[in-house]
């Protein structure tokens, strides 16, 4: 049985909507406007990470450096800001750091054929260590007002965090659907032989994907710190699993080649709703992790099951 992409998407959207309504009717204050805005604002961090992560998973990789980058990049920017540097150069330094670390991941994958989960795990660990070292494991805060405004202000009634998320969603969607590179990325994950026949360099794509994911992580980390007006050296740990879960819930295929940016962002909203709903119900964050960890394994299993059936089906019709 082949399930068309559109039907899967429709089913997921319906499921999300049903869950949303169920949560709304069952959990007090879930549907309050202020709570919903809060959910989207919290989801923006996961969503931005998920945009970068989707590209990485499409080329059959994974980015485990998020946890480190989400703390390391804002730590750099924060230290610079507190040292009296301007807002723009400080933020640029943090963004640059994230991108460079991402490009380094790309280098390891493209030139040395190191598995993505290893190099990103290592780079993430180095970043975590550096984030802890630079300020002796303490958090920093009390940033300039303009920086805090990015995280908490709004434009025409819409929180800036949400606008940034929409910006990344649009950019990711544009790259994926409207550019030749988008096609090449899918080819790299789905059928590398085609790419080689076309004479397209895989390593350039890998550099781009990991660099972009690092950039997304840096943006998300800065945004998180702007929202909280704090940089804590382990603030990223909670978000890595959520970003991966968002992609997987959004139907991004860990076997590579398949996945859509809007669906991954939708996955981020699902995670955001889920965490928020469980919070309101008084479920402890640790229990939430147990829940989300199980969801990831379950969905990856079901996805694999569906894919093998499809492969069987296509082989049968041929």
């Amino acid at each position: 049985m082949v399930i068309p992409q559109a039907a899967r998407r429709g089913a997921l959207s319906l499921l999300l909507f049903a869950g949303f309504l169920a949560a709304g009717s069952g959990i007090p204050h879930f549907l309050d406007l202020s709570n919903l805005l809060n959910v989207v604002r919290q989801s923006s961090i996961i969503g931005i990470c998920a945009v970068g992560m989707t590209f990485v998973i499409i080329i059959k990789g994974i980015d485990l450096s998020l946890a480190g980058l989400l703390a390391f990049c804002p730590m750099i920017s924060g230290m610079l800001m507190l040292a009296g540097f301007g807002l723009v150069p400080s933020m640029a330094a943090g963004l640059l750091a994230g991108t460079v670390m991402g490009l380094f991941n790309g280098l390891m994958v493209a030139r040395l054929a190191v598995p993505a989960f290893i190099t990103t795990l290592v780079v993430g660990q180095i970043c975590s260590g550096l984030a802890l070292i630079v300020n002796g494991g303490r958090s920093i805060g009390a940033f300039p007002e303009r920086f805090v405004f990015i995280g908490n202000g709004s434009l025409a009634g819409i929180p800036l965090s949400d606008l940034i998320l929409i910006g990344f969603l649009a950019a990711g969607w544009f790259i994926q659907r409207m550019t030749a590179m988008g096609n090449h990325l899918h080819a790299l994950g789905g059928n590398e032989a085609v790419l080689r026949q076309e004479g397209i360099s895989a390593s350039r794509l890998q550099f781009f994907v990991f660099g972009f994911s690092g950039f997304c992580a840096a943006v998300a980390g800065l945004l998180l710190s702007a929202q909280l007006d704090t940089v804590h050296p382990t603030q990223g740990d909670a978000y890595q699993l959520d970003a991966i879960a968002a992609c997987i819930i959004g139907g991004v295929d860990l076997a590579g080649g398949r996945g859509s940016i809007p669906m991954a962002v939708m996955g981020a909203l699902v995670i955001g709703c889920l965490r928020n709903g469980l919070d309101l119900l008084g479920v402890h964050p640790f229990m939430q992790n147990v829940f989300i960890g199980s969801i990831i394994i379950l969905i990856v299993f079901l996805g694999g099951l569906v894919r093998r059936r499809q492969e069987l089906a296509t082989r049968g019709t041929l």
Partner: protein
């Protein structure tokens, strides 16, 4: 001893005609025993540059600190040899720590029962990792990332975030009994190493494991029970992680859910890679991994002795893995 024998054998014909290849062969010999060379050079370097390093007390400390990661590292080596990874290992250590605390202190069970129960719990969780990876065909790093979060959550919930300390004496005796000036944990680690060296080096299982790691498809075609090998490896890794959680608890005399964690997983992976285990599967050895653990513990020890921030150790481990990967890749390419 065998090292020198090998050296003599390879050097003799070289000296007969051409003197050049001797150096080359020495290089190759060093390459084959890279983990020992790394360990020896680090130890010599540390002894020469870091004060207080070469004291007897300090060496005992390094041995004590290496014993527990070594047990876990042997399990991780097996998993890495299949081409997989176990990211849940550190969280399993935390869960087994709190479990051993509850069994030994709250339920007042005798020490051997606690030991068996913790090993069984580790084996059961490892078995679950193996079954999910093998039969549900979820990639190992996703399975273990997921189960890692689950285990961490369960450990926190079971313990309610609290620590159980002052554990009963008979339980502590498992790892703290003094033998020849060393705690028994060191000898437990040696015993585990010996058993697994035989298992990987001499038994059929080791050959099957290497064949599976090099090429699962080829191994299956030549009659290796690949599914069983793969599941067994995760089960063994879980068991050893459980044992190291128990020994850890005994060493610090406190059962705590935060023990181990991602940092410990990373340390163990680093040690295995420094010990010459290939991330691509098929290559790895118990002896290598033990030298790997000793090497990174020497580095940690020096960071402590020099009074540098402990956090530096995390970053340094990352740098070590990167160097090991790059060097391994370059030498591989030259061959």
């Amino acid at each position: 001893m065998t090292l020198e024998a090998n050296q003599a054998r390879t050097a003799a014909p070289a000296q007969a005609g051409r003197p050049g290849p001797l150096l080359e062969r020495l290089g190759a010999l060093a390459g084959r025993n890279a983990s020992f060379v790394i360990f020896a050079s680090l130890a010599i370097l540390a002894a020469l540059t870091v004060g207080n390093f070469a004291s007897r007390d300090n060496l005992v400390i390094i041995l004590k600190q290496s014993a527990i990661p070594a047990v876990a590292c042997i399990g991780m080596t097996l998993v890495l040899m299949t081409g997989g990874i176990d990211l849940s290992l550190g969280y399993l250590v935390g869960l087994c720590s709190i479990l051993s605390g509850i069994l030994a202190k709250t339920l007042v069970l005798p020490a051997p029962v606690v030991l068996l129960a913790v090993l069984a719990a580790g084996a059961a969780i490892g078995l679950a990792n193996g079954l999910i990876t093998q039969y549900l065909r979820v990639p190992a790093f996703i399975t273990t990332l997921g189960t890692g979060y689950i285990l961490y959550g369960v450990a926190q919930i079971v313990s309610q975030g609290s620590i159980i300390n002052r554990l009963p004496r008979p339980f502590l005796a498992i790892g703290r009994t003094d033998l020849l000036g060393l705690p028994s944990a060191v000898f437990v680690a040696l015993g585990v190493a010996l058993v697994f060296q035989l298992l990987i080096g001499k038994a059929t299982f080791g050959r099957q494991l290497r064949a599976f790691g090099f090429s699962p498809a080829a191994a299956r075609l030549s009659g290796v029970p690949t599914a069983r090998v793969n599941v067994a490896v995760y089960t063994l890794c879980g068991t050893l992680a459980g044992l190291s959680g128990l020994l850890f608890t005994i060493r610090v005399n406190a059962a705590q859910p935060n023990m181990g964690g991602g940092v410990f997983t990373f340390e163990v992976v680093t040690a295995a890679i420094v010990g010459g285990t290939s991330l691509f599967g098929g290559v790895g050895s118990v002896v290598g991994s033990i030298f790997g653990v000793l090497s990174i513990k020497i580095i940690e020890n020096c960071i402590n002795l020099l009074g540098v921030s402990y956090h530096l150790y995390l970053a340094v481990q990352g740098a070590i893995i990167l160097v090991a990967i790059i060097v391994g890749n370059l030498t591989h390419r030259r061959e």
